[in-house]
Amino acid sequence: MGLLSRVSTIFKSKVNNALDKAEDPRETLDYSYQKQLDQLQTIRRGVAEVVTSKKRVELQRDRLLQQTQQWEQDARDAVAAGRDDLATEALTRKQAMQAQIDGLDKQIDDLAHEEAKMMDLQTKLKAKVEEFRTQKEVIKAQYSAAQAQVRIGEATHGLGEDMTDLHMALERAQDKTQALQARASAIDEIADSDTLALGSGGSGDSIRDELNKMHSGTGVSDELARMKAELGKGDAS
């Protein structure tokens, strides 16, 4: 048994768990239809939650963006006041924060992609539930119990697969939003402690400070030079 066969077996057992078997085929049809409508509601709520979570992360990202602008302004003020040391410090923080924002941006993009896919699946699922409603009336009217059993089995399984598919897509997107939110919160904490530590001139972890400086040192000195040139404070050397 290969990998995909195993995935299929797991998927199908999920579908079977989601379906309910009644003795009378006509009961199965009506019951399944009702259950599908309920599930469609659950899915709609789930998708809405993912969208909300993503928006919250976007807001956090925007907040970080504002803070980088503040650092930039602080650096400018420091240069104007002839305090290159302070300007360097501010720019170092700005760049570290920018790296975090870039990471978040990428993940938000990724999530937007998932969201679009889910919306698409949701629309398709709605159409299928509607199709099921039509089919169930036809099956009920035209077929004997024995024949109906087969067709009911196929139709309910077919739709059950779509339900399970969308449910799993939703779980995946929810996992991703959770991870993203945890990350955004962690960054927020760093941003907050950064603001607090401004007066003391460091994060409280001197090794970390030194490493950050080392990593972004080149970028910072370039930016500082650019800033000084703009403000007409370029070094003569």
């Binding site: 290969g2 990998l3 195993r6 998927f11 889910m118 299928k128 196929e154 077919g158």
Partner: protein, 88 residues
């Protein structure tokens, strides 16, 4: 044969394509067991290509699938977790 790609849709495949898929499937499991991400990625891509070479089923069709593929951007780690979710 009806094959589903999760988060995508269903496709109708010829017996011949389905057989090719089965061969890749065995290699996919071997790649997973060897933790060979590169081979996994390549084989999975091939499998998706074969499935998408089939006739796409209309959205309104309500038919069970013979085989189910995980979403197209599934990583080797996600595939492993999927298999581990056997109990669900």
């Amino acid at each position: 044969m009806i094959v589903r790609i999760m988060a995508d849709g269903q496709y109708d495949l010829s017996e011949e394509s389905y057989d090719r898929l089965q061969v890749i499937d065995e290699h996919l499991l071997a790649a997973l067991e060897a933790d060979d991400g590169g081979a996994f990625h390549r084989l999975f891509h091939d499998a998706l290509k074969i499935v998408r070479g089939g006739q796409r089923l209309d959205e309104a069709v309500l038919q069970p699938s013979d085989l189910v593929l995980p979403p197209e951007d599934t990583t080797i780690d996600e595939a492993r977790r999927l298999l581990a979710s056997d109990s669900l």
